[in-house]
Symmetry: C2
Subunit: 300 residues, 2 copies
């Protein structure tokens, strides 16, 4: 079960009634946050999931609306009593940016591990979170992220027996380990069923559409994507600033065969939304809302 | 006429219903801001005085709740179209802190002038604002500020005539300049009336009480002072963290003979306030409120 909360839906600058776009996910009590603009800690306070167990913060890029809340959040996480290391992931420049922003963060009582990733496809695992960071086209180096929770194949005792696998090895094989015993090698596939799809969430902002994104978010349970404006009328404007339209996000959602699309990172100028043009392209498109929450479960 | 707005009343961290403590003053269309925590630009948006004409930002000290909003605000001021230089004033460390925090502020379209002042009594003038920065006792180097709008003495043409001051010199003397003409020196006091009190606002947070503060804010029209808690019961706690009680602020307000005291920088833990203990000491004490506004005028 992966809990997902879209903490805000704004782009460019925080508004009194719209927090900046950021995503919080929670699995087995551990949390992963993507982006941290000014006020992200405040919408998190309203959400009430707590601060102490934020283990990973992924930053898409270093525009103010995606990162200026970082020093304040780190201080608040520290005040919440965290002592375990916290990992921050981001595109090239991370070290310089975090060192700059945390100039006022004395006495943070936990270690900050920086993972400055190259601007290419990256895959890594932190705790239960399998994270993919992939480059997207924006005015500055920028990542889209996919967060996955893997699902182990079913353990099949009958299959183990048929394959003459000694009972002592089952618990290791079940975890995906290979075991050698009395000169015989036992592999997980001798006791496990077929591959089972896990839970997959894609998050893309700020970016122009691309095949890289479609490939990365393919078959996601939830795809959260920026939509600075909805309609095609604003194409020139989003091209100029390297942003995306709702209709473009919907087209990618369709091509990527995702289950559901949430739109976010709205222009501060937009207060009413034409969603028909988006759902015409991809039916399961929804406007994001501050603190829109869902719980994703394994299929079947 | 000096407009004053207490932008927020929180301390430590921003809350959904309480912005962090900061002060905005406006005189003749120019603005001076003191402190800039996370969300200060949002409460300013609610206030509606605009961003473009912020000429001076004074920082009391470099704890997160007083400065982490700076990079976002600078970007927003830039987006509002400011091109004129903006001055930032603060205690030692200013350059390092601002350079760090603005690591993500590319392309700010105005010059930032940094005035890193020594930890002593400082007086300076920027436009119509006469600013005093004075050291206060906190866990890190910290300034209290006084902002004054001076009032010129009245011009007295009868006095000028009696003193045989040539008419050609009047406009210069009126502005406070000294003029020499045909070997005779003419001074402002030959044409001007008595000293007239201007407008004076004091702002102190975070600090323990001190004589320096009382002297600095003496006879202020408005004294805005921190009150982490109100009652004497919390004395040990505020001493430990170098903060102040409402009753201590009231005692200073009384000694300093200020006209009015506004309390602010409340602990996030406090939601109901015992104001009686404060008004018992100084009658004209008021709880601050987010965006509490007043307009101060010259006496008489």
């Amino acid at each position: 079960m992966l809990d997902v909360c879209l903490l805000g839906t704004g782009g460019m600058l925080p508004l009194p009634d719209r927090y900046l776009t950021a995503l919080l996910t929670r699995f087995n009590g551990n949390k992963l946050l993507i982006d941290c603009g000014e006020g992200t800690q405040v919408t998190m306070k309203l959400l009430g999931w707590g601060y102490k167990t934020i283990d990973v913060i992924c930053i898409t890029h270093y525009h103010g609306d995606h990162i200026t809340g970082l020093p304040g959040l780190l201080l608040t996480i520290g005040n919440a009593g965290r002592e375990e290391p916290l990992t921050i992931i981001g595109p090239p420049g991370l070290k310089r940016v975090v060192e700059g922003l945390t100039v006022i963060c004395r006495d943070i009582p936990f270690e900050i591990k920086l993972m400055e990733l190259p601007l290419q496809n990256n895959s890594l695992q932190i705790g239960d979170f399998f994270i993919s960071a992939f480059p997207v086209q924006h005015k500055v180096p920028c990542f889209g992220y996919v967060v996955e929770i893997k699902r182990s194949p079913k353990f099949l005792p009958d299959k183990a027996v048929i394959n003459n696998v000694p009972k002592e090895t089952w618990r290791y094989l079940q975890k995906g380990e290979t075991v050698e015993m009395d000169g015989v090698k036992y592999t997980p596939d001798m006791v496990l069923g077929e591959f089972r799809k896990g839970i997959k969430v894609g998050y893309v902002t700020d970016a122009r559409p691309s095949k890289t994104i479609v490939d990365a978010v393919a078959n996601s349970d939830l795809f959260i994507c920026e939509a600075m404006y909805m309609e095609i009328d604003f194409l020139e404007q989003v091209k100029k600033y390297q942003h995306m339209l709702g209709v473009e996000a919907a087209q990618m959602a369709k091509e990527a065969n995702v289950s559901e699309l949430w739109l976010t990172h709205f222009s501060p100028a937009v207060t009413t939304f034409n969603t028909a043009c988006v759902t015409d392209i991809f039916k399961d498109s929804y406007l994001g809302e501050d603190r829109k929450v869902c719980t994703l479960t394994y299929d079947g």
